[in-house]
C-alpha cells in the first residue's frame, strides 16, 4: 500500500472520515506519521477553542479579582485557586464523572460526557483561571502614570478600559500568556487518558502514539514522531503570538521593547 493511499485512508481518521479499522499488524512508518498527525486535529481543536473562549472569561475574572467589591473579588479568587491549585488530570476525571451523574438525571447532559464538549469545558475553565492570574498580575503592574494620564484626558469607565487599561494589560501579560498557550496545547494530550472515552478510537495524537507503542512494544518510533509534531506546533504558537506581541508593542521605541522570553510553567 502506497503512502498516499495511507494518507487518504487515515489522514482524517481521528474525526471519523476514512478507513474504519486501525492498522493492526505490519505497521509502517507512513501509517504512524499519518495517524499521529491526524490525531493532532483534536489537540489543535481543543487548544484553539479553549484559548479563544478562555481569553474573554480570563479578562472578566482578572478584573473581578482586582475589583473593590468583595462579591466580585471572592468568587474570582476562589475560581482561580480551584483550577490552579489542583491537577488538571484530576479535574478531567472529576468533570467526567460529574457529567456522567448528570447524564442519568437528564438526557440534556449527554454530549457533556463526550470529549469534544466535556473536556473542552474543563480546558476552557482551566486556561481561564491560569490566564486570569497572568492578566491580574499585569493589571497590577500597569504604570500608574498611564492611568493618571488617562484621567487627565477625561477618560472614564469603558473608554478608559478599552483604550488604556486593556491594551497595556495585554502588552504586559503577553509573554506569560504565550507560555500559557503553549502549555495548554501540551495539556490537551491528557484528555483521552483521563476518563473521557475515545469514541470509535477517534483520539488525539498521544492516543494514537500510545496505541502504536502498545502494539509494537517499541516506544522509539511513535513518541519521537509525536514530539516532532508538538515541536512544530509549539514553534507555530510562538510565531503567531510573536506577531501579536509585535503589534501590541508597536508604539514603543525599538530598543525599549521587551524581548519575549519563553519560560515554561510546565504542567498543571
Amino acid at each position: 500500500m502506497s503512502c498516499l493511499q495511507t494518507i487518504a485512508d487515515y489522514g482524517l481518521r481521528s474525526i471519523g472520515i476514512g478507513e474504519r479499522l486501525l492498522p493492526r499488524t505490519d505497521f509502517t512508518l507512513c501509517q504512524q506519521f499519518t495517524l499521529i498527525g491526524s490525531g493532532m486535529i483534536w489537540n489543535i481543536y481543543f487548544g484553539v477553542v479553549a484559548l479563544a473562549a478562555g481569553f474573554f472569561l480570563a479578562t472578566a475574572v482578572a478584573l473581578g479579582k482586582g475589583s473593590r467589591h468583595w462579591w466580585l473579588r471572592k468568587p474570582s479568587e476562589w475560581f482561580i485557586f480551584l483550577f490552579r491549585g489542583s491537577p488538571l488530570f484530576i479535574q478531567f476525571f472529576f468533570a467526567y464523572f460529574a457529567f456522567l451523574s448528570l447524564k442519568s438525571v437528564h438526557p440534556v447532559f449527554d454530549p457533556f460526557t463526550a470529549a469534544w464538549l466535556g473536556a473542552l469545558i474543563v480546558l476552557f475553565l482551566n486556561t481561564s483561571a491560569y490566564t486570569a492570574e497572568i492578566f491580574h498580575g499585569a493589571l497590577k503592574s500597569i504604570p500608574r502614570g498611564d492611568i493618571e494620564a488617562a484621567d487627565a484626558y477625561g477618560f472614564t469607565g469603558w473608554a478608559r478600559f478599552r483604550k488604556i487599561t486593556w491594551p497595556t494589560m495585554l502588552r504586559l501579560a503577553w509573554p506569560a500568556y504565550t507560555n500559557e498557550a503553549i502549555f495548554l496545547f501540551h495539556a490537551t494530550t491528557l484528555v483521552f487518558f483521563s476518563g473521557f472515552p475515545a469514541w470509535q478510537q477517534r483520539g488525539d495524537a498521544l492516543y494514537y502514539a500510545s496505541y502504536f507503542a502498545d502494539k509494537t512494544f517499541n516506544p522509539f518510533v511513535p513518541y519521537p514522531i509525536l514530539a516532532g509534531y508538538f515541536i512544530l506546533l509549539t514553534l507555530s504558537v510562538i510565531g503567531l503570538y510573536g506577531l501579536v506581541n509585535r503589534r501590541l508593542n508597536r508604539h514603543l521605541p525599538q530598543i525599549g521593547r521587551r524581548r519575549m522570553r519563553i519560560r515554561p510553567n510546565l504542567i498543571r
Binding site: R84, P87, F89, F93, F97, H186, A227
Partner: protein, 294 residues
C-alpha cells in the same frame, strides 16, 4: 475491621458509612496517599541531582557536553511531558532488560526485536517472573521515580542554569583574580551563591511536581487515582457487602480537595521559607523586609 461491621446489611446511616470507609480496600486507598507523598519525597533529591548535572553540563566549555546539557533541558519545553512519561516507562524498562540480556545471556543468537515483540532471555526479565508481587510493585514504583526524576530533572536544570547565570559576574571574576581554577570557582563561589536565585523557580517546580503526581496512574502504579476509580465504581449487592451506585465523582471530589490542601499548605510554607531566606539578602524582597523592621 470492627466487630460492629460484621454484617453490613443490617447497618444504616452513619454506622454504615463508618464501616464502609474502614474496609480493607479503603485502608489501601488511604495508604496510597502515602505513596504520593513518598514519591514526592524520593523524586525531589533525584530531580535536583539530574537538574544540577544538566545545568553544570550546559555551562561546560566542552562543546558536545554543553550541547547535551542544553538539549536535555530544552527538549521538555516543546513536547508534552505526559508523552515523556509514557515513553520513558517503556524505554527504561526495555533498556534495563536489554543490558541484562547482553550480560546474562551472551550466547543468545536471535534478535531482540522480532516484529512487534521485544524478546529477551528468561534470566534477563525484570523483575524475574518468579519474583513475588511486592518486587513487581516496587520495580514499577522505581521506574516511575526514575521517569519523574528525568523529566523534572530537565525542568530543574533550566531553573538552576538560570540561577547560575544570575550570580553576579564580578564574583566569578574576583575568584579568578584570586587564582582559583575554573572548577574551584564553580564549587566555592558559584554553587553556594546560586540557591537564593534558584529558590523562586524551585518553589514553582515543587507546586508543579505536586500537580503531576496523579500521572503515576498512567505509569501503572496503584495510586490514589487507581483506587478512586476502583472504589467509586458501581458495586452490585451480589459482589460486595457494601453495594452502592456510581460514586466516582465523590471520590475524585475528595482527591481534588486533597490536592487543593496540599498546594495551599505548600504555598504558605514556601512563602515562609522565602521570607526567611530573603532576610539580609541584597534583593528586593530582603529590602522590603528591612523596611518593615525599621
Amino acid at each position: 475491621m470492627l466487630e460492629a461491621c460484621a454484617d453490613p446489611a443490617t447497618l444504616s446511616g452513619l454506622d454504615w458509612l463508618g464501616c464502609y470507609l474502614t474496609t480493607g480496600k479503603h485502608w489501601a486507598f488511604y495508604a496510597s496517599f502515602g505513596v504520593v507523598l513518598l514519591l514526592l519525597a524520593v523524586v525531589v533529591p533525584f530531580a535536583l541531582m539530574f537538574g544540577f548535572a544538566g545545568a553544570a553540563a550546559a555551562r561546560s566549555r566542552v562543546w558536545p557536553v554543553s550541547l547535551l546539557g542544553k538539549g536535555y533541558s530544552n527538549i521538555v519545553r516543546g513536547v508534552p511531558d505526559i508523552a515523556f512519561f509514557l515513553f520513558f516507562v517503556i524505554a527504561l524498562d526495555q533498556a534495563f532488560e536489554y543490558l541484562r540480556h547482553r550480560v546474562l545471556c551472551p550466547d543468545w543468537d536471535q534478535p531482540v526485536r522480532q516484529g512487534s515483540d521485544f524478546v529477551v532471555c528468561t534470566a534477563a526479565k525484570l523483575p524475574l517472573s518468579s519474583a513475588p508481587q511486592w518486587v513487581h510493585e516496587t520495580y514499577g514504583f522505581l521506574l516511575a521515580v526514575l521517569t519523574f526524576a528525568i523529566v523534572y530533572g530537565a525542568f530543574t536544570a533550566q531553573v538552576l542554569y538560570g540561577a547560575m547565570r544570575a550570580v553576579p559576574r564580578a564574583q566569578m571574576e574576583t575568584a579568578e583574580a584570586y587564582g582559583m581554577s575554573h572548577t574551584q570557582a564553580f564549587w566555592r563561589i558559584l554553587v553556594p551563591q546560586m540557591w537564593v536565585y534558584a529558590l523562586p523557580g524551585l518553589g514553582n517546580l515543587w507546586m508543579i511536581l505536586i500537580k503531576a503526581t496523579p500521572l503515576l496512574f498512567l505509569l501503572g502504579v496503584e495510586d490514589i487515582v487507581y483506587w478512586a476509580r476502583e472504589l467509586g465504581g458501581t458495586k452490585a449487592a451480589k459482589f460486595s457487602a457494601y453495594p452502592h451506585g456510581d460514586w466516582r465523582m465523590w471520590y475524585f471530589g475528595a482527591l481534588l480537595v486533597f490536592y487543593l490542601c496540599l498546594t495551599w499548605v505548600s504555598e504558605k510554607g514556601l512563602d515562609r521559607l522565602m521570607r526567611r531566606l530573603s532576610r539580609g539578602q541584597a534583593t528586593a524582597a530582603g529590602e522590603a523586609l528591612r523596611k518593615v523592621a525599621a
